[in-house]
């Protein structure tokens, strides 16, 4: 049996992390959490999470940044907002998950080849360049970059789409795609993307 110390020292904390999250729009409710677990109980994905949403909130509030950013919880959030609606303290739990996701992306604290993060990257890239999403192309990219086995397993899906006339290979693109790219670049320069 390999033993590891589970104790946390104060030096393991990133002091001010919790407060920095609580300052973001929609995350103001963070300090009022009473750790009742409604969010975890309500969450349809919580059964797969390494940390329950409640625990993530607890870690963020206690400034355990590394732990909060490296869990799979933030990536498994499917944005269904069930927790936000049910929270007795009206905490924007989904927003807090978003904030952590943004922070994790910025600090590259997610597993390499993690499909959710790759989907996020490919998705934003396609929108930025083309203005629209061509779902079938996006999914193909995702499978190629993240998990080629899944791509093989899903060959039937492609066939089905072709059969039902929904398989699009021509990339959709808006006329103002260049203009849109400039607009989006505008915010990058100032670093005011709303991300923490």
């Amino acid at each position: 049996m390999k033993l590891t110390q589970k104790i946390k020292y104060d030096a393991d904390r990133t002091v001010g992390f919790g407060e920095s999250v609580a300052r973001l729009p929609g995350c103001e409710g963070l300090p009022s959490c009473i750790q009742c677990g409604t969010c975890s109980g309500t969450c349809p994905m919580s059964i797969y999470m390494d940390l329950s949403p409640r625990q993530v909130i607890g870690l963020v509030r206690a400034d355990f940044k590394k732990e909060a950013l490296s869990c799979n919880t933030i990536w498994l959030c499917s944005s269904c907002y069930a927790c936000t609606v049910q929270c007795p303290r009206e905490i924007g739990i989904t927003e807090i998950m978003y904030a952590l996701k943004q922070r994790a992306i910025r600090e590259h604290t997610f597993p390499a080849g993690f499909p959710i993060a790759i989907l996020a990257r490919e998705f934003t890239r396609m929108v930025t360049r083309k203005g629209r999403i061509t779902e079938t192309l996006l999914v193909m990219k995702l499978f190629l970059r993240a998990n080629w086995r899944a791509a093989l397993a899903s060959w039937w899906l492609g066939l089905g789409l072709i059969r039902t006339g929904r398989f699009v290979l021509r990339q959709e693109q808006i006329q103002g795609h260049r203009e849109l790219a400039t607009m989006l670049a505008q915010t990058k320069e100032t670093g005011e993307g709303g991300a923490p």
Partner: protein, 665 residues
């Protein structure tokens, strides 16, 4: 500046530190130094606790030693300690109204963080009071008589206890209850925590005592319609609803109920929260007081159509207690004080669709569960599912609707204990597995923690987590036909699905739906949540802002039976103190008319809500009856010739205050 009687002004100024409460934000020494420079101030001190005995003693000695003729104290709210300091001033030999108070705690130190600004504000307020007090004149209080009779509104355990206490002290009490019987929620309980003594055994003797007491006039099925007057002298109109049964003739034999043309009970029975049925003519519950039946006009065929065989009349025979002609009555009574004990309502869990109340028949409220395990309940005390079977697994969902920003933000204080009580009874009687889902177990008070211990020892399972959802969607064979609770077991650190037969929602307390109406009638205030507001949360917990009106029990906020009874006793004691004092000193803030200035325009006459202003048609002047004046000052502000003054709030006094607050930048 000179005082009216030509004595030079000698003002003593005191600024209180209130420990750190004031001194932590306001520089008290600086305020005292500043005040010392103001006109008329001969003595200026700062002191740690002005309201303490040494603080009061200081005022007394200074008045004597320094020949003070005015006193100003800058400390907390005058609503809290004005009386204290006036008494100290009087003890020093001065007229108590040659005093003014400055509120630098509630209105300054506690609400500001900028120390310089708060100190400036304290100086400005002090300057205002010093200017104002110079204008004060000696005043005398008048004493209003107190009518010795008391009205108690609400016949739950609080109202019952208050009424009995007063009646035992020899006072005449009117007890008015909205329902056809007294008893309130407590009558619906099986046992009471933490002692698990039988609720009926301790309540029904008190109910009977009310009925038998010669000093109590009990009016059930009645409501307070109107209150006029003021402390010591209230005129109350009570609406006595038609019961269609002569209460004093009915002996409670219930032969009429037996004889009713409805052979089977058909209508939801309120006492059993709809879990059983009753007829249009019914006894509210077996131990009801008064023991008199009542007819529901919405259900009775005779009252609805006039075409009934009236078998009830035959059954009642020569007692003639049933009276279809009975009409609602308005009765006027005179009392000197009132105790409001109107209780609470339960949260309606239909507002939480994810808990499935109203959708799944085996999702119940704690009160419904209470009736099911009560031997006087619809199942004779057998806990049964909708299907008639006995449950093998029961869950209690705590904080259903409580501690939730979307429903009720408050903790109802009793639900943890109430649920643990039901859990223990279920464990004892049925052996079913009982799980309690909780956020925090709140078992304070005498015997509370021991009660929690007992529940644990009895094998009640505790899962720390607020239930997210109750559903009937099975994901495994074990879940088939069950109610499934989805919850995070926060101590075990995992999400669980727990199949149960019965789910009991521990619903909290809410203010009565008509609380606002009652508040208006009684001229009280409500907290933001809708509970009746006490005058001071600690120092005057059963008084209200209206003198002579007291509150007791859950209408003031959620509480358990011992606390309700304690409060009811306290309210009764307050009323007794008022009555036995024989009278009440009235603040001498009445208005008066200077006859030579009155132009006789009569514009004040109609403004007065107390009809205190009379017009003398011969002299063509108005005059104010000080005994009737309540001191609002509406007439003073309205008088076009400036001929009306108000003691304690003279125009000149207010002008000095205005000038004072603006004098310091």
């Amino acid at each position: 500046m000179k005082v009216k009687d030509d004595q030079p002004l000698r003002i003593g100024f005191y600024v209180c530190h209130c420990g750190h409460n004031i001194a932590g934000v306001v520089d008290c020494a600086a305020v005292a130094q500043y005040a010392a420079t103001l006109e008329g101030v001969v003595l200026s001190r700062d002191y740690k606790y002005m309201c303490s005995s040494p603080g009061q003693e200081l005022i007394r000695e200074d008045i004597r030693d320094h020949n003070l003729n005015r006193v100003v104290v800058a400390s907390c709210s005058p609503l809290l300690h004005e009386h204290t300091f006036r008494t100290a001033v009087a003890a020093g030999g001065l007229n108590p109204f040659l005093f003014q108070m400055v509120n630098i705690r509630e209105h300054d130190a506690w609400v500001h963080t900028d120390k310089a600004a708060a100190t400036d504000k304290a100086k400005a307020l002090a300057a205002a009071a010093i200017r104002r007090v110079a204008r004060h004149r000696p005043l005398e209080t008048t004493r209003a008589p107190i009518h010795p009779d008391v009205l108690v509104v609400g016949g739950g355990i609080s109202g019952i206890h208050a009424a009995l206490t007063l009646a035992n002290a020899g006072k005449k009490v009117y007890l008015v209850e909205r329902d056809p019987s007294i008893g309130g929620h407590m009558a619906q309980f099986d046992k009471t925590f933490p002692t698990l003594d039988c609720a009926a055994c301790i309540l029904t003797p008190k109910m009977s005592a009310v009925r038998a007491h010669k000093n109590i006039v009990l009016w059930t099925y009645s409501e307070v319609a109107k209150v006029e007057g003021y402390v010591g002298n209230y005129t109350v109109t009570v609406r006595r609803k038609a019961r269609y049964v002569q209460e004093e003739l009915c002996v409670g034999c219930q032969e009429c109920v037996e004889a009713c043309v409805f052979k089977e009970p058909k209508f939801p029975d309120r006492f059993n929260v709809g879990l059983s049925r009753r007829k249009p003519i019914y006894m509210p519950f077996p131990q009801a007081v008064p023991q008199a039946v009542v007819i529901d006009p919405e259900r009775c065929i005779e009252l609805k159509t006039g075409k009934c065989k009236k078998t009830c009349l035959e059954a009642c025979a020569d007692r003639h207690a049933i009276d279809f002609q009975q009409k609602e009555e308005l009765v006027q009574i005179h009392v000197g004080s009132m105790i409001v004990a109107t209780g609470y309502e339960l949260f309606d869990p239909r507002r939480l669709p994810h808990y499935g109340y109203g959708r799944y028949p085996d999702v119940l409220t704690t009160l419904e569960c209470e009736r099911l395990i009560s031997s006087s309940g619809p199942t004779g005390g057998e806990l049964r599912l909708h299907s008639g079977q006995a449950p093998t697994a029961v869950g209690f969902v705590l904080c259903a609707g409580s501690r939730d920003y979307k429903t009720n933000r408050w903790c109802s204080r009793t639900c943890c204990m109430h649920s643990m009580k039901l859990a223990q009874i279920i464990r004892e009687r049925t052996g079913a597995e009982v799980t309690l889902f909780y956020i925090d177990i709140r078992a304070p008070g005498k015997g509370g923690e021991e009660f929690y211990d007992r529940a644990l020892a009895q094998g009640v399972k505790f899962v720390r987590g607020r239930v997210a959802e109750v559903s009937d969607c099975p994901l495994s064979p074990a879940e088939q036909g069950k109610l499934i609770v989805r919850v995070e077991d926060t101590l075990a650190g995992m999400v669980r699905r727990i199949p149960l037969d019965m789910v009991v929602l521990a619903v909290g307390m809410e203010p009565q739906a008509n609380a606002q109406e009652v508040r208006r009638i009684m001229n009280m205030s409500c907290s933001a949540e809708g509970w009746f507001l006490e005058k001071h949360p600690k120092m005057a917990p059963v008084s209200t802002f209206t003198d002579g009106v007291f509150i007791a029990g859950c209408c003031q906020g959620p509480k358990d039976i011992p606390d309700s009874i304690a409060q009811a006793g306290a309210a009764a004691a307050e009323a007794l103190a008022l009555i036995d004092a024989g009278g009440i000193d009235q603040e001498p803030n009445t208005a008066y008319i200077s006859e030579e200035d009155c132009s006789g325009c009569k514009s004040c006459v109609d403004l007065c809500p107390y009809k205190a202003i009379a017009f003398d048609p011969v002299k063509e002047k108005a005059s104010i009856n000080a005994a009737l004046c309540k001191g609002c000052g509406v007439c003073v502000a309205a008088c076009p010739s400036g001929s009306i003054g108000q003691n304690l709030f003279e125009d000149q006094e207010v002008f000095e205050e205005i000038e004072g607050v603006l004098a310091h930048a």
